[in-house]
């Protein structure tokens, strides 16, 4: 290339080559910078994974997890139930990182936590040895309108399949105002016990699950730190902090037991009388 040009003073040759070198370097550095900047932007953009995708047990907080996971798939291989998958390009989860979708295949909460044991980098925290302490997400009974138990039926499936039955999910007894004589057994998730395994979401009998496991950031509210619950303060103090309160009678309901606020059910023909003395028999 140099030979084809007319002869030039020898002193200019190093200058030329230096210029060429600098130009080449600038091109290489610029191109490389753009490429990695692009990669960084894609990474930042895609870091928000869909709420239905859950990380394996023991996964570090998402930002730390994305720094630690080398995308090797050892956790996937050691999962005996084929729950875990490695994200493929297009899955909307960081490519190559492990995840599962509870509605498809939930976590079976193996006692020996093989996925965590397999992780070579600690992206899955090896301090997690008790699977009941895993926090993959939090189950939420997200749709009261379709949940069969909320309609007064006894489905209870989410409660029955819960590996931490009566701890992570309980059935809370509530009066059924529609029939006025039954109870509703409302599945209630307790965040201090729920591991987010997703067995409830997987088992929900509805075509679309009414109970779903969500990431904690979506599922949980946070009480303001200055809030105090009066009844707790009362119990802690061993008595009311503001003196005993007088129970005032309710006008028109004097003959009712306390809390029965229904208006004269016995005076409405066609309706059975309400309350404990309604005379209703099953």
């Amino acid at each position: 290339m140099i030979n084809q040009r007319p002869a030039e003073p020898a002193s200019q040759v190093p200058l030329r080559s230096r210029r060429r070198f600098l130009k080449e370097m600038a091109g290489a550095a610029g191109g490389a910078c753009l490429l990695s900047l692009g990669a960084g932007m894609i990474a930042a953009e895609a870091a928000a994974r869909p709420a239905t995708t859950l990380r394996p047990p023991g996964a570090l907080a998402e930002a730390d997890f994305l720094a630690a996971c080398v995308r090797c798939g050892l956790c996937v291989r050691d999962c005996p139930y084929d729950t875990l998958r490695l994200a493929e390009l297009g899955d909307n989860v960081a490519t190559g990182t492990p995840y599962f979708e509870a509605r498809a295949v939930p976590c079976e909460m193996c006692e020996d936590v093989p996925c965590v044991a397999a992780c070579p980098t600690g992206a899955l925290d090896h301090d997690l040895t008790d699977i009941a302490k895993a926090r993959m997400g939090l189950a939420v009974l997200i749709d009261h309108e379709t949940c069969l138990n909320f309609l007064g039926l006894r489905c209870d499936v989410c409660y029955r399949v819960c590996p931490l039955i009566d701890h992570a999910i309980t059935l809370e007894l509530v009066h059924n105002p529609r029939s006025d004589r039954h109870a509703m057994m409302l599945p209630t998730v307790h965040s201090d016990a729920c591991t987010g395994c997703g067995k409830c979401e997987h088992a929900c009998v509805l075509p679309e699950a009414a109970i779903r496991v969500l990431p904690h950031r979506l599922a949980q509210g946070k009480a303001a730190e200055h809030y105090r619950k009066g009844w707790e303060e009362k119990e802690r103090a061993g008595g009311s902090l503001i003196g005993e309160q007088t129970q005032l009678p309710m006008r028109g309901l004097e003959d009712r037991s306390y809390g029965d606020t229904r208006i004269a059910p016995e005076q409405r023909p066609g309706l059975p009388g309400g309350g404990l003395d309604s005379g209703w028999k099953p």
Partner: protein, 300 residues
């Protein structure tokens, strides 16, 4: 440096004219001997993948995981040191198994040559070798290869990106780890990125990805720059200037100093970008090259 670049360019135009290098070697040595190292490499690349796939496909669990990190026979941990470097830059102190694994891998490549990863292990090598082969056959010229230094810049920037974003940013798009993972765990849309690399090497830049851009290759090149195992042009007196070795070499600039004594007296290829692929040994009808150590500087 730029002077060498100029003559490389003219060499390049000459060797790229060879559409079917190695024909003379086939005639002299027979097809099998003229493809020995190529076949061995393909066997190596395919059997490494097969070891990973024997578990999920046949239920024979020899190696678990993938090339990023694996566990062999439930005892031997292996981890890609380049990935570990990114993870460290992103601010995660890794668990001891990953450190052990990366140490073992690094130690191996320190001996056999870092870019042995590129030519003997990495599945992307089959893709870019295929592109180079087709490019030769179709007689495609032109295009524009970026500076061969691009890979070092990219290496630096990928580590910087990991530090800045606090995640393995490069691994979102890294075609190399994406391809091996896709082969072992499923493709998704990854084939698109692999196709892009193939087309880039075929149409835009000769040996563009592996020879100029790939930061992983740059990393392994640096890792094995003092490695023991080397190719030597020991019988360079017999060279008949057929240029076939230049035509097949993925890093043609590494041959000249050894073969033509340009800037060095001995015939050993010491350039860190030589991948020890042995293709030059295959295609040489005169048996000029052989695989040896960096200490062995004898001729003939």
């Amino acid at each position: 440096m730029s002077g060498a670049g100029g003559s490389e360019g003219s060499l390049h135009s000459r060797h790229s004219a060879i559409a079917r290098p190695g024909q003379e070697a086939v005639a002299v040595k027979g097809w099998l001997r003229a493809h020995k190292w190529l076949l061995l490499r393909r066997v190596s690349q395919v059997s490494i993948l097969a070891l990973f796939l024997a578990g999920p496909w046949l239920g024979v669990w020899i190696v678990k995981g993938n090339l990023s990190s694996s566990l062999t026979l439930d005892v031997l941990p292996l981890t890609d040191p380049y990935l570990l470097l990114q993870s460290l830059a992103a601010g995660h102190p890794p668990f001891r198994e990953a450190l052990w694994g990366a140490g073992i891998v690094a130690a191996c490549y320190l001996v056999v040559g870092g870019r042995v990863y590129c030519s003997w292990v990495c599945p992307m090598n089959i893709v870019t070798d295929g592109a180079a082969w087709l490019r030769r056959r179709l007689g495609l010229k032109g295009g524009k290869a970026p500076s061969a230094h691009t890979r070092y810049w990219l290496l630096a920037f990928t580590v910087a990106a990991a530090a800045l974003t606090g995640s393995l940013a490069w691994e979102w798009v890294n075609p190399v780890s994406m391809l091996q993972r896709a082969l072992i765990f499923g493709f998704g849309l990854s084939w698109g990125i692999v196709l892009a690399v193939f087309l880039y090497d075929l149409l835009i830049a000769s040996r563009g990805w592996c020879g100029h851009v790939c930061p992983m290759g740059a990393f392994y090149g640096l890792l094995g720059m003092r490695s023991l195992l080397r190719v030597s042009a020991a019988r360079r007196d017999a060279c008949n200037d057929c240029m076939d070795c230049f035509a097949v070499c993925p890093e043609p600039q590494v041959i000249r100093p050894a073969l033509k004594g340009a800037g060095q007296a001995h015939p050993v290829i010491l350039d860190r970008h030589c991948t020890n692929c042995g293709r030059c040994i295959d295609v040489c009808s005169q048996d000029v090259f052989r695989l040896t150590t960096r200490i062995d500087r004898s001729e003939s």
